[in-house]
Symmetry: C2
Subunit: 284 residues, 2 copies
């Protein structure tokens, strides 16, 4: 391969590192990929590290020496997260988002890949030192944010399944599982009392989806009373998991007493005089 210039190497290194956040690359690996000497790579990495720090683009963690290596660690400044959250709040303050009686239309925000990517990078930065093995969420709406966070942490994504066991009059009833669940092998379930709905729901996780004793970060879309997340905590206890944190995108101000504590919320929804208002959550 023709020798690359310093700038060419720097550009290529950044693409390779960022494509696999949190993965340690050895200098030998990079040297082979780029057809460059390890000594040149060390210099390149110093330049990139300093530039990323200066421009608040994340951290490069380097291990010195010939047997050294490097990984990209997605860590943004607190100010970066503050700006993101404020932008989100103004986007959500648009009155046309009001649907029905006291609800906000959030689907587009929950499913905006670019916004989720940026938020997730900032959220992941908070937990990057906690050695997270898996990001766990409850289907369905939390999946996009949870996946985005998992990607930045290089963790597995694990999705707990929620069984819908309400009839019209609130009486629990069995629901036939989709055929695809046959392919999941043995499944662990817990029943839990929902904080907001009447009655009992159930949540499950295939045994194979999460190893015993994993360090997990819980990421979900919405926190009202916290019944679902408390149920998830019970389910994770069956896997002897250590929960290193809980992050929700939206927290509703009511009820003010939640069934879980120590959570981080990106934004908070309140209601007063029939109007919905959007505030930054406790993450900033």
């Amino acid at each position: 391969m023709e020798k690359l210039s310093k700038a060419a190497r720097a550009g290529a290194i950044v693409k390779v590192l960022i494509d696999s956040p949190n993965r340690m690359f050895t200098l030998s690996e990079l040297a082979e990929l780029l057809g460059a000497a390890k000594s040149s790579l060390s210099e390149d990495l110093s330049i990139i590290r300093a530039t990323f720090e200066k421009l608040d683009l994340g951290k490069l963690e380097t291990l010195a020496g010939v047997s050294g290596g490097v990984r990209f660690v997605p860590m943004r400044s607190q100010q970066y997260l503050v700006n993101l959250v404020r932008d989100l709040c103004s986007r959500l303050a648009d009155p046309s988002r009001k649907v029905g009686n006291g609800y906000l239309f959030l689907n587009d925000v929950l499913n905006d890949p670019q916004l989720l990517f940026k938020l997730a990078e900032a959220i992941a930065g908070r937990f990057v030192l906690a050695n997270v093995d898996a990001v766990v969420t409850v289907e369905t709406k939390g999946i996009p944010l949870a996946l985005s966070v998992a990607r930045h942490l290089s963790s597995q994504l694990v999705i707990a399944r929620r069984e819908i066991i309400f009839s019209e009059d609130g009486v629990p009833m069995p629901v036939t599982r989709q055929e695809s669940t046959v392919a999941e092998g043995a499944v662990l379930s817990v029943a839990f009392e929902s904080g907001s709905h009447r009655g009992v729901q159930s949540m499950s996780l295939p045994r194979r989806s999460l190893p015993q004793g994993a360090r997990v970060l819980i990421v979900d879309d919405f926190l009202r009373a916290g019944g679902t997340l408390r149920g998830l905590g019970d389910l994770l206890a069956e896997f002897s998991s250590t929960v290193v944190g809980t992050v929700v995108l939206v927290e509703s101000q009511k009820p003010s007493i939640k069934l879980i504590d120590d959570y981080l919320s990106v934004i908070k929804l309140g209601e007063a005089d029939g109007k919905i208002y959007v505030l930054p959550g406790n993450i900033i």
Copy 2:
């Protein structure tokens, strides 16, 4: 800001462009971000473009001139995709994946953010010129791949909801919707005949989630007979969508006649003599 070196600028430019794939940045925007002259940036971009091409890292599309701009377009070579698919096939050939009667455990693969990211980048490359407004999937298992593809295409993600309306004996029955769906406003539904299950299912999409006449790419996890995807096609027709393509992660060889055509599959599952085998799909 202190002036950055050429290598420093190249590293920073790559991070900024890759964080927002398919977004056009003007030279002025980059110049302000990096405190650099537009003429220097033009040179940097030529170097990065040539390097990315040489190393198969994707394309840089540049508009020449002072009023010019640049965007990162995720396009990998066919060989890159072939290697990914072959790796995936060997990963799935592990006999311990067999669960129950003729099923493969796929959850870890479906939820592996790093693998999905790479696959999605390669898939997105196939549709990057098709001006995709939205990537549409059916909850739940297709969401992670669909989100990953949507991110690379800078498209919105849209998730159709599937109603579970089977009782134990196959009789359709109503299910109470989760409270969160109240926040979605008016919803369009279609009933469809499932190809693999007996009877009728229903699928829905909030009116607000997809504008009329959008160009959509369908991405899902599993294709058996194709009833669900045909139902999704009917639902999308109600939104006057143009479907530019359909991609599934796994296609099952049986039944051999599918209810949809013109789809791309990443891998194919077959069964012979009670053994499951894994083959590359028609995407390679």
